[in-house]
């Protein structure tokens, strides 16, 4: 059992929880994730580590309450317990000195971009952050991102905060960078990838396919990268954006749509 220490609603439908998980905190690195099972009958959901504190023995999870399990997780309060957490999983993001790095986070992906930004900054890079959401109410971690970025751009689809448009619009007009890291909705990662592909700039995306065990045993998370089938959980979650088959990834995310609707209705009633 893992105790929820703190909880904060960061934006509409976006919740942050801090959970006691000493061993995971001890081992966590930027870009890794955990699998959470909220209660005895819960499913295994992968969530990226938004932060961790080795001294306090805590990890931070930030998630959007979009489905049954994330809503259940979001309904927990400090003092409540999460049944199971496994991690840290996946390869950490490869952090090295590229010089000028662009880190892009879309939607709740901002939470995943944050520790990666910080790690790149600590490695001595000049870090440009671009974060974007649909509207002002969904924006998270602006203050934190500012601290770890040398420059930070903010976009909203409707222009209710920052500049109107997409993160990719900002990327288009930037130059002089030699590495891009992007995490967020698939269309956003695809748009970013398209831009950098033209200039042959190394671009890494963090993918979140459907998983069950998340330890390489079931293959639910298989992806096509550079015409090879790989497993998101153990080969990823980071992949070369220019080699990822995004169409297949978005199609595979729809396998359980009907079931998700059904159980979600149950939560709401």
């Amino acid at each position: 059992m893992f105790k929820v220490i703190n909880k904060e609603n960061l934006a509409k439908e976006v919740t942050k929880i801090v959970v006691k998980a000493e061993q995971i905190a001890r081992k966590a690195k930027a870009g890794q994730f955990v699998v959470v099972i909220v209660d005895e009958r819960g499913e295994r959901i992968p969530l990226t580590l938004a932060d961790w504190d080795k001294d306090k023995g805590t990890i931070t999870l930030i998630f959007q309450k979009i489905g049954f399990s994330t809503k259940k997780l979001g309904s927990l309060n400090p003092g409540d317990k999460i049944e199971h957490i496994l991690g840290p999983l996946g390869h950490p993001t490869e952090i090295k000195k590229w010089d000028k790095v662009v880190c892009i986070g879309g939607g709740v992906g901002i939470a995943e971009a944050y520790p990666v930004c910080r790690a790149f900054k600590e490695a001595g890079n000049y870090v440009i952050g671009i974060i974007g959401t649909r509207n002002k109410d969904l924006l998270i971690l602006e203050k934190e991102m500012k601290k770890v970025c040398d420059e930070l751009f903010i976009t909203t689809d409707d222009g209710s905060y920052g500049e109107k448009g997409f993160v990719s619009d900002v990327l288009k007009r930037l130059s002089g960078y030699n590495f891009v890291y992007a995490v967020g909705p698939i269309p956003m990662m695809q748009a970013v990838s398209k831009i950098t592909q033209e200039y042959h700039i190394k671009t890494i995306v963090s993918l979140n396919p459907i998983m069950v065990d998340a330890t390489g045993m079931c293959g639910a998370c298989r992806l096509r990268v550079g015409n090879c089938t790989v497993f998101g959980c153990v080969d990823g979650p980071d992949f070369d954006a220019h080699a990822v088959d995004f169409e297949e990834l978005s199609r595979r995310l729809k396998i359980f749509t009907e079931a998700e609707r059904k159980i979600d209705a149950q939560f709401n009633s």
Partner: protein
């Protein structure tokens, strides 16, 4: 006459996930126990990978001493309720039984189960551990090899901690074998027994990630790696990443581990259609087929050789047939066909014929030219085998492997890292529950020898 166990009738059982084989009644067990010839030099024991004193426990059953019979079995086998259910006795003890010459071997499996199930209802067996040692040993993986090794070491007095990556213990016994063949309550009971021996089981602990082997070596005198063969194999044919193509591991893990058949009461879903194709001919393929039948689908099992070559247990093949699984032998899938949404809508296959014998001694299937045809199905489950789990090996420098991904060990089961042992499917490739248990037993002895020799020197 050999006593056979009663089964749930096929028409009933395809509507539930309850156990198919119902086990012996008291009377049946007594009749069967009386049939045993009590051979002086019993050949059945030689067929048992964990060397249970088979005539010994059967004699006790004949004398109506069920508790003593169970104790006798547990001298050698820590998981008898599981072995009584899933061991291929027909290839092991029962094959060697002298009565097998008349095709009427003692039903040793059912007797073992009968003795073991006593513990489910009547009492909780535990063993007095003579001397408790301070020495700590880590076991990685709580499948049959890991649990067996942990139990044996605990009975020798060691402090044992088992690290399990999943949220439930049991490994393949929990995520792989379906409820109707091995009820999870049975697995829980056997695990409880092992805990009563003093073994600690740490769940949600993926060694390699949550703890490294180095971390464990700083706390434990020895480590036993028993992480099994959990890497699913795929066919490598077009369409394998379509929606509703599952590996057997994913399908079975959703059903057995996550209980997706009780969705939405349990939150993990499964999405299968009305017509399911299972690819493969082993026990895992048969398990998948019988699960799919219970989920209400029409099921076709596609196997590239003929029935004679099927590696699945005869009993399970018969069960699957009785439950309505259709077998398509000498059939090899070549392509999975998609609909407009990227879901499966068909399986293109080619007919095969048997040629010369191959390395496995079975006749090699050869494609019949221009014999392609399409099976109209909407779900594919690929059950063509598992390879050793590569995860721990990848992140553990110095842990050497063979070309097939199995971990290299010496004759004492020690790996290339001193004090780190390995056994079960991770060194042999996918094999039976009982051979993994045999490896767990051997590892316990080797680890004990290693620790004792280290103390002396």
């Amino acid at each position: 006459m050999r006593q056979n166990v009663c089964q749930q009738p096929p028409k009933e059982r395809i509507k539930n996930f309850s156990e198919v084989a119902l086990g012996f009644s008291k009377k049946q067990a007594e009749i069967e126990a009386r049939r045993c010839l009590q051979c002086k030099d019993p050949s059945c024991v030689k067929g048992c990978p964990v060397e249970i004193d088979i005539p010994g426990f059967i004699k006790l059953l004949k004398e109506k001493k069920r508790k003593e019979a169970l104790k006798k079995i547990k001298e050698k086998n820590n998981l008898p309720a599981i072995c009584g259910r899933v061991c291929p006795q027909e290839d092991q003890c029962e094959k060697n039984c002298v009565l097998n010459k008349k095709n009427m071997p003692i039903n040793i499996g059912a007797l073992e189960r009968y003795a073991a199930d006593y513990e489910l209802t009547f009492f909780r067996l535990s063993f007095k551990i003579k001397q408790k040692l301070r020495t700590r040993v880590a076991v990685v993986g709580s499948g049959p090899a890991g649990l067996t090794c942990a139990a044996d070491l605990a009975r020798m007095g060691y402090q044992v901690v088992v690290f399990e990556s999943l949220h439930l213990p049991g490994g393949v016994l929990t995520y792989g074998i379906p409820e109707f063949r091995l009820p999870k309550q049975i697995v829980r009971n056997e695990v409880e027994y092992i805990k009563r021996l003093g073994v600690e089981i740490k769940l949600n602990s993926l060694v390699g990630n949550t703890y490294s082997i180095e971390d464990l070596l700083s706390e434990f005198k020895a480590i036993f790696i028993a992480v099994g063969a959990g890497l699913p194999q795929f066919l490598g044919i077009p369409g394998e990443n379509l929606n509703r193509v599952y590996s057997a591991n994913e399908f079975l893990a959703r059903i057995n581990l996550m209980q997706a058949y009780k969705f939405p009461e349990y939150a993990t879903p499964i999405n299968i259609g009305k017509r399911v194709a299972i690819i493969g001919g082993g026990n895992v393929a048969l398990d998948c087929a019988r699960v799919a039948i219970r989920l209400g689908s029409d099921v076709t099992l596609v196997y590239r050789r003929s029935r004679t070559e099927m590696p699945g247990r005869k009993e399970e093949i018969e069960n699957a047939l009785a439950e309505g699984v259709v077998f398509k032998f000498l059939t090899q899938p070549v392509r999975i066909i998609e609909d407009e949404q990227g879901f499966v809508k068909g399986l293109e296959c080619i007919k095969m014929e048997l040629g010369e014998a191959d390395a496995s001694g079975r006749r090699r299937p050869v494609a019949v030219r221009s014999s392609n045809f399409i099976l109209e199905i909407d779900t594919v489950i690929v059950a063509i085998g598992q390879r050793p789990n590569p995860l721990l090996v990848k992140v553990t420098p110095g842990l050497k492997t063979n070309e097939d991904g199995t971990i290299k060990v010496d004759e004492h089961l020690m790996t290339s890292i001193t004090g780190v042992f390995a056994g079960g499917d991770i060194i042999t490739g996918a094999d039976t529950v009982i051979s993994a248990m045999g490896a767990g037993k051997k590892a316990a002895v080797e680890i004990d020898n290693y620790i004792k020799s280290n103390i002396k020197s």
